[in-house]
Subunit: 321 residues, 2 copies
Protein backbone atom coordinates (compact mmCIF):
# COMPACT_ATOMS: atom_id res chain seq x y z
CA UNK A 1 0.00 0.00 0.00
CA UNK A 2 2.70 2.48 -0.98
CA UNK A 3 0.05 4.76 -2.39
CA UNK A 4 -1.06 5.74 1.10
CA UNK A 5 1.89 8.07 1.50
CA UNK A 6 0.29 10.46 -0.96
CA UNK A 7 -2.95 10.62 1.05
CA UNK A 8 -1.86 13.39 3.46
CA UNK A 9 -0.79 15.33 0.33
CA UNK A 10 -4.33 15.25 -1.03
CA UNK A 11 -4.25 12.33 -3.48
CA UNK A 12 -7.98 11.65 -3.89
CA UNK A 13 -7.59 8.39 -5.82
CA UNK A 14 -5.27 6.96 -3.20
CA UNK A 15 -7.72 8.04 -0.50
CA UNK A 16 -10.70 6.45 -2.28
CA UNK A 17 -8.75 3.22 -2.64
CA UNK A 18 -7.83 3.19 1.02
CA UNK A 19 -11.43 3.84 2.08
CA UNK A 20 -12.52 0.79 0.10
CA UNK A 21 -9.89 -1.30 1.91
CA UNK A 22 -11.18 0.03 5.24
CA UNK A 23 -14.80 -0.65 4.32
CA UNK A 24 -13.87 -4.25 3.55
CA UNK A 25 -11.78 -4.36 6.74
CA UNK A 26 -8.79 -5.87 4.92
CA UNK A 27 -5.44 -6.49 6.65
CA UNK A 28 -3.76 -4.01 4.29
CA UNK A 29 -6.42 -1.41 5.11
CA UNK A 30 -5.72 -1.85 8.81
CA UNK A 31 -2.00 -1.63 8.20
CA UNK A 32 -2.43 1.57 6.21
CA UNK A 33 -4.47 3.10 9.02
CA UNK A 34 -1.78 2.10 11.52
CA UNK A 35 0.55 4.36 9.56
CA UNK A 36 -1.88 7.20 8.91
CA UNK A 37 -3.26 7.26 12.45
CA UNK A 38 -0.36 9.53 13.44
CA UNK A 39 -1.85 12.24 11.23
CA UNK A 40 -5.31 12.11 12.81
CA UNK A 41 -6.91 14.10 15.62
CA UNK A 42 -7.29 17.43 13.81
CA UNK A 43 -10.70 17.20 12.17
CA UNK A 44 -13.94 18.35 13.75
CA UNK A 45 -16.36 15.43 13.35
CA UNK A 46 -19.91 16.69 12.95
CA UNK A 47 -22.75 14.15 12.97
CA UNK A 48 -26.16 14.88 11.47
CA UNK A 49 -29.11 12.67 12.21
CA UNK A 50 -32.87 12.91 11.82
CA UNK A 51 -35.86 11.16 10.25
CA UNK A 52 -36.00 10.57 6.52
CA UNK A 53 -37.77 13.41 4.82
CA UNK A 54 -36.34 16.13 7.07
CA UNK A 55 -33.94 17.27 4.36
CA UNK A 56 -30.62 16.19 5.90
CA UNK A 57 -28.85 15.73 2.57
CA UNK A 58 -29.96 19.13 1.31
CA UNK A 59 -28.84 20.69 4.57
CA UNK A 60 -25.42 19.03 4.37
CA UNK A 61 -25.15 20.31 0.81
CA UNK A 62 -26.02 23.88 1.85
CA UNK A 63 -23.68 23.73 4.83
CA UNK A 64 -20.75 22.54 2.73
CA UNK A 65 -21.36 25.25 0.11
CA UNK A 66 -21.41 27.90 2.81
CA UNK A 67 -18.25 26.64 4.53
CA UNK A 68 -16.38 26.36 1.22
CA UNK A 69 -17.12 30.01 0.42
CA UNK A 70 -16.17 31.14 3.94
CA UNK A 71 -12.91 29.15 4.05
CA UNK A 72 -11.91 28.29 0.48
CA UNK A 73 -8.59 26.79 1.60
CA UNK A 74 -10.23 24.25 3.86
CA UNK A 75 -11.23 20.91 2.35
CA UNK A 76 -14.38 19.26 3.66
CA UNK A 77 -15.51 15.64 3.70
CA UNK A 78 -18.99 14.16 3.84
CA UNK A 79 -19.74 10.59 4.91
CA UNK A 80 -23.32 9.62 4.02
CA UNK A 81 -24.41 6.44 5.77
CA UNK A 82 -27.30 4.73 4.01
CA UNK A 83 -29.48 2.01 5.37
CA UNK A 84 -29.29 -0.97 3.07
CA UNK A 85 -32.67 -2.30 2.16
CA UNK A 86 -33.67 -4.18 -0.95
CA UNK A 87 -36.87 -2.17 -1.02
CA UNK A 88 -35.43 1.32 -0.85
CA UNK A 89 -32.02 1.23 -2.47
CA UNK A 90 -33.37 3.27 -5.36
CA UNK A 91 -35.07 5.98 -3.38
CA UNK A 92 -32.07 6.65 -1.18
CA UNK A 93 -29.74 6.68 -4.13
CA UNK A 94 -31.97 9.43 -5.53
CA UNK A 95 -31.44 11.34 -2.34
CA UNK A 96 -27.72 11.13 -2.77
CA UNK A 97 -27.95 12.50 -6.29
CA UNK A 98 -28.74 15.88 -4.79
CA UNK A 99 -25.21 15.90 -3.42
CA UNK A 100 -23.74 15.36 -6.85
CA UNK A 101 -22.84 18.99 -7.47
CA UNK A 102 -20.56 18.84 -4.43
CA UNK A 103 -18.54 16.25 -6.29
CA UNK A 104 -17.47 18.88 -8.84
CA UNK A 105 -15.65 20.79 -6.09
CA UNK A 106 -12.07 19.50 -5.70
CA UNK A 107 -12.10 20.67 -2.08
CA UNK A 108 -14.99 18.37 -1.15
CA UNK A 109 -14.83 14.61 -0.74
CA UNK A 110 -18.13 12.70 -0.54
CA UNK A 111 -18.27 9.06 0.50
CA UNK A 112 -21.47 7.02 0.59
CA UNK A 113 -21.45 4.00 2.87
CA UNK A 114 -24.06 1.32 3.34
CA UNK A 115 -24.95 -0.04 6.75
CA UNK A 116 -24.44 -3.73 6.27
CA UNK A 117 -27.12 -4.93 8.63
CA UNK A 118 -30.80 -5.37 7.93
CA UNK A 119 -31.80 -2.27 9.86
CA UNK A 120 -30.01 0.52 11.67
CA UNK A 121 -26.49 0.46 12.97
CA UNK A 122 -23.79 2.71 11.62
CA UNK A 123 -21.64 1.12 8.97
CA UNK A 124 -19.05 -0.89 10.88
CA UNK A 125 -16.17 0.96 9.30
CA UNK A 126 -17.39 4.53 9.84
CA UNK A 127 -14.79 5.07 12.57
CA UNK A 128 -11.93 3.93 10.36
CA UNK A 129 -13.16 5.88 7.33
CA UNK A 130 -13.49 9.10 9.30
CA UNK A 131 -9.95 8.64 10.64
CA UNK A 132 -8.59 8.24 7.12
CA UNK A 133 -10.38 11.42 6.01
CA UNK A 134 -8.98 13.18 9.08
CA UNK A 135 -5.45 12.04 8.14
CA UNK A 136 -6.04 13.31 4.60
CA UNK A 137 -6.61 16.79 6.01
CA UNK A 138 -10.38 17.16 5.60
CA UNK A 139 -11.95 19.37 8.25
CA UNK A 140 -14.77 19.38 9.20
CA UNK A 141 -15.99 15.89 8.39
CA UNK A 142 -19.77 15.78 8.20
CA UNK A 143 -21.30 12.37 8.93
CA UNK A 144 -24.90 12.03 7.86
CA UNK A 145 -27.08 9.14 8.98
CA UNK A 146 -30.78 8.43 8.78
CA UNK A 147 -32.43 8.62 12.18
CA UNK A 148 -33.42 5.09 13.10
CA UNK A 149 -33.01 4.10 16.71
CA UNK A 150 -29.56 2.81 17.47
CA UNK A 151 -27.85 4.95 14.82
CA UNK A 152 -28.18 8.18 16.73
CA UNK A 153 -26.50 6.83 19.80
CA UNK A 154 -23.64 5.60 17.66
CA UNK A 155 -23.31 8.87 15.80
CA UNK A 156 -23.15 10.73 19.11
CA UNK A 157 -20.35 8.50 20.33
CA UNK A 158 -18.48 9.03 17.05
CA UNK A 159 -18.92 12.78 16.50
CA UNK A 160 -17.63 15.76 18.45
CA UNK A 161 -20.78 17.70 17.64
CA UNK A 162 -24.15 16.06 16.99
CA UNK A 163 -26.89 17.86 15.05
CA UNK A 164 -30.41 16.48 15.30
CA UNK A 165 -32.48 17.64 12.34
CA UNK A 166 -36.27 17.71 12.39
CA UNK A 167 -38.87 19.15 10.02
CA UNK A 168 -42.57 19.97 10.30
CA UNK A 169 -45.10 17.65 8.69
CA UNK A 170 -43.34 14.37 9.43
CA UNK A 171 -45.85 13.36 12.08
CA UNK A 172 -45.92 13.49 15.82
CA UNK A 173 -42.38 14.69 16.27
CA UNK A 174 -41.95 14.98 19.99
CA UNK A 175 -42.45 11.30 20.68
CA UNK A 176 -40.89 8.72 22.90
CA UNK A 177 -38.26 7.68 20.42
CA UNK A 178 -37.47 11.26 19.54
CA UNK A 179 -37.17 12.32 23.13
CA UNK A 180 -34.27 9.92 23.45
CA UNK A 181 -32.58 11.66 20.54
CA UNK A 182 -32.73 14.95 22.44
CA UNK A 183 -30.35 13.47 24.95
CA UNK A 184 -27.62 13.25 22.34
CA UNK A 185 -28.20 16.54 20.49
CA UNK A 186 -25.64 19.34 20.77
CA UNK A 187 -27.60 21.40 18.25
CA UNK A 188 -31.24 21.01 17.16
CA UNK A 189 -32.27 22.12 13.69
CA UNK A 190 -35.81 22.70 12.45
CA UNK A 191 -35.34 22.43 8.70
CA UNK A 192 -38.06 23.37 6.18
CA UNK A 193 -38.85 26.15 8.62
CA UNK A 194 -40.88 28.00 5.94
CA UNK A 195 -43.51 25.29 6.08
CA UNK A 196 -46.64 25.16 8.26
CA UNK A 197 -46.07 23.80 11.72
CA UNK A 198 -42.41 24.87 11.94
CA UNK A 199 -42.98 27.35 14.77
CA UNK A 200 -44.94 24.81 16.78
CA UNK A 201 -42.25 22.22 16.26
CA UNK A 202 -39.53 24.65 17.33
CA UNK A 203 -41.46 25.55 20.49
CA UNK A 204 -42.14 21.90 21.28
CA UNK A 205 -38.45 21.05 20.92
CA UNK A 206 -37.48 23.98 23.11
CA UNK A 207 -39.98 22.89 25.75
CA UNK A 208 -38.67 19.30 25.77
CA UNK A 209 -35.09 20.58 26.02
CA UNK A 210 -35.95 22.95 28.83
CA UNK A 211 -37.60 20.16 30.77
CA UNK A 212 -34.61 17.89 30.26
CA UNK A 213 -32.01 20.50 31.09
CA UNK A 214 -33.85 21.66 34.16
CA UNK A 215 -33.41 18.10 35.46
CA UNK A 216 -29.79 17.85 34.43
CA UNK A 217 -28.74 21.18 35.87
CA UNK A 218 -30.41 20.16 39.08
CA UNK A 219 -28.49 16.89 39.11
CA UNK A 220 -25.06 18.32 38.35
CA UNK A 221 -25.34 21.33 40.63
CA UNK A 222 -21.93 22.31 41.91
CA UNK A 223 -20.22 19.39 40.21
CA UNK A 224 -18.32 21.39 37.61
CA UNK A 225 -17.19 24.94 37.03
CA UNK A 226 -17.16 25.10 33.23
CA UNK A 227 -20.12 26.77 31.55
CA UNK A 228 -22.75 24.27 30.39
CA UNK A 229 -23.63 23.99 26.71
CA UNK A 230 -27.35 24.47 26.26
CA UNK A 231 -28.30 23.00 22.86
CA UNK A 232 -29.78 25.80 20.76
CA UNK A 233 -32.73 25.20 18.41
CA UNK A 234 -32.09 26.72 14.97
CA UNK A 235 -34.47 27.25 12.06
CA UNK A 236 -33.23 26.62 8.52
CA UNK A 237 -34.53 26.35 4.97
CA UNK A 238 -31.81 24.25 3.39
CA UNK A 239 -33.23 24.70 -0.12
CA UNK A 240 -32.63 28.47 -0.19
CA UNK A 241 -29.87 28.56 2.40
CA UNK A 242 -31.78 30.51 5.08
CA UNK A 243 -30.33 30.01 8.51
CA UNK A 244 -27.34 28.10 7.18
CA UNK A 245 -24.73 30.77 8.07
CA UNK A 246 -26.15 30.86 11.60
CA UNK A 247 -25.96 27.07 11.79
CA UNK A 248 -22.34 27.10 10.61
CA UNK A 249 -21.66 29.73 13.28
CA UNK A 250 -23.17 27.60 16.04
CA UNK A 251 -21.17 24.55 14.92
CA UNK A 252 -18.02 26.65 15.20
CA UNK A 253 -19.06 27.91 18.62
CA UNK A 254 -19.62 24.36 19.81
CA UNK A 255 -16.15 23.37 18.63
CA UNK A 256 -14.72 26.34 20.54
CA UNK A 257 -16.70 25.42 23.65
CA UNK A 258 -15.50 21.81 23.43
CA UNK A 259 -11.87 22.88 23.21
CA UNK A 260 -12.01 25.54 25.90
CA UNK A 261 -13.71 23.32 28.46
CA UNK A 262 -11.79 20.09 28.18
CA UNK A 263 -14.78 18.48 26.44
CA UNK A 264 -12.92 17.91 23.17
CA UNK A 265 -10.37 15.68 24.83
CA UNK A 266 -13.08 13.97 26.86
CA UNK A 267 -15.05 13.11 23.74
CA UNK A 268 -11.91 12.02 21.88
CA UNK A 269 -11.06 9.71 24.73
CA UNK A 270 -14.59 8.30 24.89
CA UNK A 271 -14.64 7.77 21.13
CA UNK A 272 -11.26 6.05 20.92
CA UNK A 273 -11.99 3.98 24.01
CA UNK A 274 -15.26 2.77 22.49
CA UNK A 275 -13.48 1.93 19.26
CA UNK A 276 -10.66 0.00 20.93
CA UNK A 277 -13.21 -1.81 23.10
CA UNK A 278 -15.24 -2.79 20.04
CA UNK A 279 -12.21 -4.03 18.11
CA UNK A 280 -11.02 -5.89 21.18
CA UNK A 281 -14.35 -7.61 21.64
CA UNK A 282 -14.36 -8.67 18.01
CA UNK A 283 -10.82 -9.98 18.23
CA UNK A 284 -11.50 -11.93 21.42
CA UNK A 285 -14.61 -13.39 19.88
CA UNK A 286 -12.81 -14.42 16.71
CA UNK A 287 -10.07 -16.09 18.68
CA UNK A 288 -12.65 -18.10 20.65
CA UNK A 289 -14.57 -19.04 17.57
CA UNK A 290 -11.42 -20.53 16.17
CA UNK A 291 -11.02 -22.68 19.25
CA UNK A 292 -14.39 -24.32 19.35
CA UNK A 293 -15.59 -26.50 16.51
CA UNK A 294 -18.89 -26.00 14.76
CA UNK A 295 -19.78 -29.54 15.70
CA UNK A 296 -19.58 -28.73 19.41
CA UNK A 297 -21.81 -25.72 19.00
CA UNK A 298 -24.33 -27.66 16.92
CA UNK A 299 -24.46 -30.41 19.52
CA UNK A 300 -25.07 -27.89 22.29
CA UNK A 301 -27.86 -26.19 20.30
CA UNK A 302 -29.40 -29.60 19.57
CA UNK A 303 -29.54 -30.36 23.27
CA UNK A 304 -31.13 -26.99 23.93
CA UNK A 305 -33.73 -27.73 21.24
CA UNK A 306 -34.45 -31.05 22.96
CA UNK A 307 -34.66 -29.27 26.34
CA UNK A 308 -31.86 -31.40 27.74
CA UNK A 309 -29.79 -28.30 28.42
CA UNK A 310 -30.89 -24.75 29.18
CA UNK A 311 -29.13 -21.99 27.21
CA UNK A 312 -27.12 -21.11 30.32
CA UNK A 313 -26.02 -24.72 30.72
CA UNK A 314 -25.09 -24.91 27.03
CA UNK A 315 -22.84 -21.88 27.40
CA UNK A 316 -21.17 -23.36 30.49
CA UNK A 317 -20.42 -26.51 28.52
CA UNK A 318 -19.00 -24.55 25.58
CA UNK A 319 -16.83 -22.49 27.92
CA UNK A 320 -15.34 -25.59 29.55
CA UNK A 321 -13.57 -26.53 26.36
Amino acid sequence: MDFIHSIPQGDRRALARMLTELENDTPSGRKALDELFLHTGKAHLVGLTGPSGCGKSTLVNALVHHLRIQQPDQSIAVIAVDPTSPFTGGALLGDRVRMRDLALDEGVFVRSMATRGALGGLARSTQAVSMALDAAGYNPILIETVGAGQDEVEIASLAHTTLVVEAPGLGDEVQASKAGIMEIADVLVVNKSDQPGADNLKQALEAVLEMGYANQVHESQGKQNSPAWIPPVLATVALDGSGVPELAGVIGEHEKWLKENGEWEKRERARLTAWVEKLFREAVWQRWQGERTNREVEQAIEQVMERKLSPYQAVKRLLKK
Copy 2:
Protein backbone atom coordinates in the same frame (compact mmCIF):
# COMPACT_ATOMS: atom_id res chain seq x y z
CA MET B 1 -35.68 -20.82 44.95
CA ASP B 2 -38.05 -23.58 46.03
CA PHE B 3 -40.99 -21.41 45.07
CA ILE B 4 -40.29 -22.00 41.37
CA HIS B 5 -41.86 -25.44 41.56
CA SER B 6 -45.26 -23.84 41.89
CA ILE B 7 -44.77 -21.78 38.70
CA PRO B 8 -45.95 -24.47 36.25
CA GLN B 9 -49.01 -24.82 38.53
CA GLY B 10 -49.93 -21.19 37.99
CA ASP B 11 -48.53 -19.46 41.08
CA ARG B 12 -48.51 -15.84 39.94
CA ARG B 13 -46.54 -14.49 42.88
CA ALA B 14 -43.80 -17.06 42.42
CA LEU B 15 -43.71 -16.22 38.71
CA ALA B 16 -43.47 -12.48 39.34
CA ARG B 17 -40.63 -13.08 41.77
CA MET B 18 -38.77 -15.24 39.28
CA LEU B 19 -39.20 -12.65 36.50
CA THR B 20 -37.57 -10.05 38.73
CA GLU B 21 -34.62 -12.40 39.30
CA LEU B 22 -34.35 -12.90 35.53
CA GLU B 23 -34.55 -9.18 34.84
CA ASN B 24 -31.67 -8.63 37.23
CA ASP B 25 -29.85 -11.61 35.70
CA THR B 26 -29.10 -13.11 39.11
CA PRO B 27 -27.40 -16.52 39.52
CA SER B 28 -30.52 -17.86 41.26
CA GLY B 29 -32.67 -16.61 38.37
CA ARG B 30 -30.46 -18.46 35.91
CA LYS B 31 -30.57 -21.58 38.05
CA ALA B 32 -34.36 -21.43 38.24
CA LEU B 33 -34.59 -21.13 34.47
CA ASP B 34 -32.26 -24.11 34.09
CA GLU B 35 -34.92 -26.12 35.89
CA LEU B 36 -37.95 -24.60 34.23
CA PHE B 37 -36.48 -24.72 30.72
CA LEU B 38 -37.70 -28.32 30.44
CA HIS B 39 -41.29 -27.00 30.48
CA THR B 40 -40.77 -24.51 27.64
CA GLY B 41 -41.35 -24.75 23.91
CA LYS B 42 -45.14 -24.75 23.92
CA ALA B 43 -46.07 -21.06 23.72
CA HIS B 44 -46.66 -19.14 20.52
CA LEU B 45 -44.53 -15.99 20.82
CA VAL B 46 -46.19 -13.10 19.01
CA GLY B 47 -44.24 -9.86 18.62
CA LEU B 48 -45.93 -6.51 17.98
CA THR B 49 -43.94 -3.52 16.84
CA GLY B 50 -44.72 -0.15 15.31
CA PRO B 51 -44.23 3.59 15.84
CA SER B 52 -45.50 5.26 18.99
CA GLY B 53 -48.98 6.59 18.45
CA CYS B 54 -50.14 3.69 16.28
CA GLY B 55 -52.16 2.24 19.13
CA LYS B 56 -50.18 -0.92 19.86
CA SER B 57 -51.15 -1.12 23.54
CA THR B 58 -54.84 -0.70 22.75
CA LEU B 59 -54.56 -3.37 20.06
CA VAL B 60 -52.85 -5.79 22.44
CA ASN B 61 -55.63 -5.10 24.92
CA ALA B 62 -58.35 -5.79 22.34
CA LEU B 63 -56.58 -8.90 21.10
CA VAL B 64 -56.22 -10.34 24.60
CA HIS B 65 -59.90 -9.66 25.38
CA HIS B 66 -60.95 -11.42 22.19
CA LEU B 67 -58.72 -14.44 22.77
CA ARG B 68 -59.84 -14.78 26.37
CA ILE B 69 -63.49 -14.93 25.30
CA GLN B 70 -62.73 -17.41 22.51
CA GLN B 71 -60.60 -19.71 24.67
CA PRO B 72 -61.41 -19.02 28.33
CA ASP B 73 -59.24 -21.90 29.54
CA GLN B 74 -56.12 -20.52 27.94
CA SER B 75 -53.99 -18.08 29.94
CA ILE B 76 -52.25 -15.31 28.04
CA ALA B 77 -49.18 -13.24 28.86
CA VAL B 78 -48.19 -9.78 27.68
CA ILE B 79 -44.63 -8.44 27.82
CA ALA B 80 -44.57 -4.68 27.24
CA VAL B 81 -41.08 -3.41 26.53
CA ASP B 82 -40.70 0.30 27.24
CA PRO B 83 -37.91 2.55 26.16
CA THR B 84 -36.38 4.14 29.21
CA SER B 85 -36.01 7.85 28.84
CA PRO B 86 -35.93 10.47 31.55
CA PHE B 87 -38.05 12.69 29.33
CA THR B 88 -40.88 10.31 28.58
CA GLY B 89 -41.21 7.93 31.48
CA GLY B 90 -44.49 9.55 32.42
CA ALA B 91 -46.12 9.48 29.02
CA LEU B 92 -45.36 5.84 28.43
CA LEU B 93 -46.50 4.88 31.87
CA GLY B 94 -49.80 6.52 30.94
CA ASP B 95 -49.93 4.29 27.91
CA ARG B 96 -49.58 1.25 30.08
CA VAL B 97 -52.44 2.35 32.28
CA ARG B 98 -54.77 1.48 29.42
CA MET B 99 -53.77 -2.13 29.95
CA ARG B 100 -54.75 -2.01 33.57
CA ASP B 101 -58.12 -3.66 33.13
CA LEU B 102 -56.33 -6.73 31.82
CA ALA B 103 -54.73 -7.06 35.22
CA LEU B 104 -58.14 -7.85 36.74
CA ASP B 105 -58.33 -11.04 34.67
CA GLU B 106 -56.66 -13.93 36.51
CA GLY B 107 -55.97 -15.60 33.18
CA VAL B 108 -53.81 -12.72 31.95
CA PHE B 109 -50.30 -11.89 33.11
CA VAL B 110 -48.88 -8.48 32.14
CA ARG B 111 -45.21 -7.65 32.62
CA SER B 112 -43.71 -4.26 31.83
CA MET B 113 -40.00 -4.20 31.13
CA ALA B 114 -37.70 -1.26 30.57
CA THR B 115 -34.99 -1.32 27.93
CA ARG B 116 -31.95 -0.48 29.97
CA GLY B 117 -30.06 1.41 27.26
CA ALA B 118 -30.44 5.03 26.27
CA LEU B 119 -32.30 4.24 23.07
CA GLY B 120 -33.64 1.13 21.39
CA GLY B 121 -32.62 -2.42 22.07
CA LEU B 122 -34.96 -4.96 23.53
CA ALA B 123 -34.61 -5.42 27.25
CA ARG B 124 -31.68 -7.80 27.70
CA SER B 125 -33.75 -10.29 29.60
CA THR B 126 -36.76 -10.50 27.26
CA GLN B 127 -35.68 -13.96 26.08
CA ALA B 128 -35.43 -15.32 29.61
CA VAL B 129 -38.68 -13.70 30.73
CA SER B 130 -40.61 -15.11 27.78
CA MET B 131 -39.22 -18.58 28.53
CA ALA B 132 -40.40 -18.36 32.14
CA LEU B 133 -43.89 -17.33 30.99
CA ASP B 134 -43.83 -20.22 28.53
CA ALA B 135 -42.92 -22.63 31.34
CA ALA B 136 -45.75 -21.18 33.41
CA GLY B 137 -48.21 -22.26 30.71
CA TYR B 138 -49.11 -18.90 29.15
CA ASN B 139 -49.93 -19.17 25.45
CA PRO B 140 -49.79 -17.05 23.38
CA ILE B 141 -47.24 -14.63 24.78
CA LEU B 142 -47.61 -11.19 23.22
CA ILE B 143 -44.44 -9.09 23.20
CA GLU B 144 -45.02 -5.43 22.50
CA THR B 145 -42.18 -3.06 21.69
CA VAL B 146 -42.01 0.48 20.42
CA GLY B 147 -40.75 0.63 16.86
CA ALA B 148 -37.34 2.24 17.00
CA GLY B 149 -34.72 0.84 14.70
CA GLN B 150 -32.88 -2.11 16.15
CA ASP B 151 -35.83 -3.26 18.23
CA GLU B 152 -37.79 -4.66 15.33
CA VAL B 153 -34.99 -6.87 14.19
CA GLU B 154 -34.65 -8.23 17.71
CA ILE B 155 -38.36 -8.79 18.09
CA ALA B 156 -38.40 -10.72 14.82
CA SER B 157 -35.59 -12.97 15.99
CA LEU B 158 -37.40 -13.56 19.28
CA ALA B 159 -41.00 -14.10 18.10
CA HIS B 160 -42.55 -16.85 16.00
CA THR B 161 -44.95 -14.36 14.48
CA THR B 162 -44.16 -10.67 14.04
CA LEU B 163 -46.93 -8.08 13.63
CA VAL B 164 -45.96 -4.67 12.32
CA VAL B 165 -48.59 -2.10 13.30
CA GLU B 166 -49.02 1.18 11.46
CA ALA B 167 -51.65 3.92 11.60
CA PRO B 168 -52.62 6.82 9.36
CA GLY B 169 -51.63 10.34 10.35
CA LEU B 170 -48.22 9.51 11.82
CA GLY B 171 -46.34 11.06 8.91
CA ASP B 172 -44.76 9.68 5.82
CA GLU B 173 -45.22 6.04 6.68
CA VAL B 174 -43.67 4.22 3.79
CA GLN B 175 -40.19 5.51 4.36
CA ALA B 176 -36.73 4.08 4.26
CA SER B 177 -36.67 3.02 7.88
CA LYS B 178 -40.15 1.58 7.64
CA ALA B 179 -39.36 -0.35 4.50
CA GLY B 180 -36.81 -2.30 6.49
CA ILE B 181 -39.53 -3.24 8.95
CA MET B 182 -41.51 -4.81 6.12
CA GLU B 183 -38.79 -7.37 5.77
CA ILE B 184 -39.54 -8.74 9.23
CA ALA B 185 -43.36 -8.54 9.18
CA ASP B 186 -45.42 -11.74 9.08
CA VAL B 187 -48.60 -9.71 9.41
CA LEU B 188 -49.16 -6.00 8.73
CA VAL B 189 -51.85 -4.13 10.62
CA VAL B 190 -53.30 -0.74 9.75
CA ASN B 191 -54.79 0.31 13.06
CA LYS B 192 -57.08 3.36 13.47
CA SER B 193 -58.45 2.32 10.10
CA ASP B 194 -61.53 4.53 10.60
CA GLN B 195 -59.36 7.60 10.30
CA PRO B 196 -58.54 9.60 7.16
CA GLY B 197 -55.68 8.22 5.13
CA ALA B 198 -56.12 4.61 6.27
CA ASP B 199 -57.02 3.31 2.81
CA ASN B 200 -54.05 5.06 1.23
CA LEU B 201 -51.75 3.67 3.88
CA LYS B 202 -53.10 0.15 3.36
CA GLN B 203 -52.60 0.40 -0.39
CA ALA B 204 -49.10 1.81 0.03
CA LEU B 205 -48.15 -1.05 2.36
CA GLU B 206 -49.58 -3.59 -0.06
CA ALA B 207 -47.64 -2.04 -2.92
CA VAL B 208 -44.36 -2.12 -0.99
CA LEU B 209 -45.00 -5.73 0.00
CA GLU B 210 -45.84 -6.74 -3.54
CA MET B 211 -42.65 -5.16 -4.82
CA GLY B 212 -40.59 -6.91 -2.17
CA TYR B 213 -42.21 -10.30 -2.59
CA ALA B 214 -41.97 -10.17 -6.36
CA ASN B 215 -38.19 -9.93 -5.85
CA GLN B 216 -38.08 -12.66 -3.23
CA VAL B 217 -40.19 -15.13 -5.16
CA HIS B 218 -37.94 -14.54 -8.11
CA GLU B 219 -34.88 -15.25 -5.99
CA SER B 220 -36.15 -18.39 -4.31
CA GLN B 221 -37.75 -19.93 -7.38
CA GLY B 222 -37.65 -23.69 -7.18
CA LYS B 223 -35.73 -23.65 -3.91
CA GLN B 224 -38.52 -25.00 -1.73
CA ASN B 225 -41.78 -26.84 -2.10
CA SER B 226 -43.70 -25.52 0.89
CA PRO B 227 -46.27 -22.81 0.23
CA ALA B 228 -44.90 -19.32 0.86
CA TRP B 229 -46.47 -17.10 3.51
CA ILE B 230 -47.50 -13.80 1.96
CA PRO B 231 -47.89 -11.27 4.78
CA PRO B 232 -51.48 -10.03 4.73
CA VAL B 233 -52.37 -6.40 5.45
CA LEU B 234 -55.27 -6.14 7.93
CA ALA B 235 -57.34 -3.14 8.96
CA THR B 236 -58.33 -2.73 12.61
CA VAL B 237 -59.89 -0.20 14.97
CA ALA B 238 -58.52 -1.39 18.28
CA LEU B 239 -60.72 1.02 20.26
CA ASP B 240 -64.00 -0.60 19.18
CA GLY B 241 -62.56 -4.02 18.33
CA SER B 242 -63.22 -3.91 14.58
CA GLY B 243 -60.99 -6.30 12.68
CA VAL B 244 -59.65 -7.86 15.87
CA PRO B 245 -61.31 -11.28 15.36
CA GLU B 246 -59.87 -11.37 11.82
CA LEU B 247 -56.44 -10.47 13.19
CA ALA B 248 -56.66 -13.23 15.81
CA GLY B 249 -57.62 -15.59 13.00
CA VAL B 250 -54.62 -14.65 10.89
CA ILE B 251 -52.26 -15.07 13.87
CA GLY B 252 -53.67 -18.58 14.33
CA GLU B 253 -53.24 -19.32 10.62
CA HIS B 254 -49.64 -18.19 10.75
CA GLU B 255 -48.97 -20.50 13.68
CA LYS B 256 -50.53 -23.35 11.71
CA TRP B 257 -48.46 -22.48 8.63
CA LEU B 258 -45.27 -22.37 10.73
CA LYS B 259 -45.95 -25.79 12.20
CA GLU B 260 -47.01 -27.48 8.97
CA ASN B 261 -44.03 -26.26 6.96
CA GLY B 262 -41.15 -26.87 9.31
CA GLU B 263 -40.88 -23.12 9.92
CA TRP B 264 -41.73 -23.38 13.61
CA GLU B 265 -38.74 -25.56 14.32
CA LYS B 266 -36.55 -23.41 12.08
CA ARG B 267 -37.48 -20.26 13.99
CA GLU B 268 -37.09 -22.02 17.35
CA ARG B 269 -33.63 -23.11 16.33
CA ALA B 270 -32.68 -19.65 15.11
CA ARG B 271 -33.98 -18.05 18.28
CA LEU B 272 -32.25 -20.44 20.68
CA THR B 273 -29.04 -20.32 18.65
CA ALA B 274 -29.03 -16.52 18.77
CA TRP B 275 -29.64 -16.63 22.51
CA VAL B 276 -26.87 -19.16 23.22
CA GLU B 277 -24.53 -17.17 20.98
CA LYS B 278 -25.31 -13.96 22.83
CA LEU B 279 -24.83 -15.53 26.27
CA PHE B 280 -21.64 -17.15 25.07
CA ARG B 281 -20.24 -13.86 23.78
CA GLU B 282 -21.02 -12.19 27.09
CA ALA B 283 -19.41 -15.00 29.05
CA VAL B 284 -16.28 -15.00 26.90
CA TRP B 285 -16.03 -11.24 27.23
CA GLN B 286 -16.43 -11.35 30.99
CA ARG B 287 -13.74 -13.99 31.31
CA TRP B 288 -11.34 -11.84 29.28
CA GLN B 289 -12.15 -8.72 31.18
CA GLY B 290 -11.15 -10.50 34.35
CA GLU B 291 -7.80 -11.36 32.83
CA ARG B 292 -6.67 -7.93 31.79
CA THR B 293 -6.19 -5.17 34.33
CA ASN B 294 -7.76 -1.76 34.01
CA ARG B 295 -4.29 -0.26 34.14
CA GLU B 296 -3.27 -2.09 30.95
CA VAL B 297 -6.34 -0.89 29.12
CA GLU B 298 -5.87 2.67 30.32
CA GLN B 299 -2.24 2.65 29.19
CA ALA B 300 -3.23 1.38 25.75
CA ILE B 301 -5.92 4.07 25.40
CA GLU B 302 -3.44 6.71 26.53
CA GLN B 303 -1.05 5.69 23.77
CA VAL B 304 -3.88 5.81 21.24
CA MET B 305 -4.74 9.33 22.45
CA GLU B 306 -1.08 10.32 21.96
CA ARG B 307 -1.11 8.69 18.51
CA LYS B 308 1.70 6.34 19.49
CA LEU B 309 -0.50 3.34 18.78
CA SER B 310 -3.36 2.95 16.34
CA PRO B 311 -6.53 1.33 17.73
CA TYR B 312 -5.65 -1.88 15.85
CA GLN B 313 -2.18 -1.91 17.39
CA ALA B 314 -3.63 -1.27 20.84
CA VAL B 315 -5.89 -4.30 20.48
CA LYS B 316 -2.99 -6.48 19.36
CA ARG B 317 -1.06 -5.47 22.44
CA LEU B 318 -4.01 -6.18 24.75
CA LEU B 319 -4.51 -9.59 23.12
CA LYS B 320 -0.89 -10.59 23.66
CA LYS B 321 -1.36 -10.66 27.41
